[in-house]
């Protein structure tokens, strides 16, 4: 992104890296950080001294705000969202915030409406219902 002022996530005007690179949802990062912490325990007698403050605060955050806890469901969430033609960034915002209605989803990620990725509101609604089903059966 050359001009910083123009950056705007609501219009999907964001750095290339957010559009192409793999973005990660809270629940995915929660699994990664858990595994990382375990590895550090094996590598050092004092794992806490090897983690940064950023690591610890991120871990606390994703633990509190992840909507999905176990690795199987986390996989399913990405799969359901990937069925739609979403940018990585949009996919993660939806997976994190789990909007319940089509209006809420569009308010959170306005670009899913304007970029014509969904045929109609019913298609968005179906995706949201699939997501909430995963949550229900976790």
């Amino acid at each position: 992104m050359s001009a910083e002022e123009e950056e705007n996530a609501a219009e999907l005007k964001i750095g290339e890296e957010f559009l192409k690179a793999k973005c990660l949802m809270n629940c995915e990062v929660s699994l990664i950080l858990d595994k990382k912490y375990e590895q550090l325990q094996n590598m050092s007698d004092d794992p806490l001294s090897q983690t940064s403050q950023v690591f610890e605060k991120s871990l606390q955050y994703v633990k509190r705000f992840s909507r999905y806890k176990n690795s199987e469901t986390v996989k399913q969430v990405r799969e359901v969202l990937s069925r739609n033609r979403l940018a990585e960034f949009e996919l993660c915002v939806l997976g994190n915030l789990c909007p319940e209605t089509v209006e809420e989803a569009i308010a959170m990620v306005p670009t899913i409406k304007s970029k014509g990725r969904f045929q109609d509101d019913d298609a968005i609604d179906k995706m949201l219902r699939d997501l909430s089903l995963i949550k229900k059966f976790e």
Partner: protein, 182 residues
């Protein structure tokens, strides 16, 4: 919050005493040095906060510094990062309730300010031992509670190596979350 898995190329400096160890030990010394370095740098303006190194991808040929005996290795590694973006919707926890607004934190991002003017819905400040903001619809903002907000603007603070964020709650589907919804 949306994290990113980035590939980075840095150099790490290994002191001579770690060099005479066996191969695997040298690898370990490089990893530990890298973790220290990540912890120390904390964040960058371009990539945001460095959350966790996920893998060491490659270690290049070391370059000896003749005076010190240290060896500098160019390395590439993968790292989970987080950078707040303007227009992004985030969930944060309330750290402090002040007369003019509330201070929020979202993981490593700690300097989020939501001004009373950007709350919408007629929130009113109630000065108590534990001050709160209360809305006409009886939504409350109190220390420890969770809030869904949108990033209005942000600024990189070079000295503290962190971002400061101005938040707004004045739009549909933003506002305090009930605890069950965390």
């Amino acid at each position: 919050m949306v994290f990113l898995e980035a590939q980075l190329s840095w150099t790490v400096l290994i002191p001579p005493e770690s060099l005479f160890a066996e191969g695997l030990k040298l690898q370990q010394a490089i990893v530990l040095r890298l973790l220290e370095e990540v912890s120390c740098r904390k964040a960058s303006k371009e990539l945001g906060y460095f959350v966790a190194v996920t893998s060491l991808e490659s270690v290049g040929e070391g370059q000896l510094q003749e005076l010190t005996g240290n060896v500098i290795f160019p390395i590439t590694f993968r790292c989970v990062t987080f950078k707040p973006l303007k227009g992004e919707v985030l969930v944060g926890a309330i750290r402090k309730v002040l007369r003019h607004g509330i201070m929020l934190a979202a993981g490593p991002l700690e300097g989020v300010f939501l001004s009373a003017k950007a709350m919408g819905d007629g929130y009113e400040y109630l000065p108590r031992d534990e001050p709160v903001f209360l809305s006409e619809k009886l939504s409350r903002l109190e220390s420890g509670g969770a809030v869904r907000f949108k990033v209005l603007g942000l600024k990189w603070m070079e000295e503290d190596r962190e971002f400061q964020v101005l938040a707004t709650m004045a739009a549909d589907f933003l506002g305090p979350l009930i605890s069950d919804d965390d």
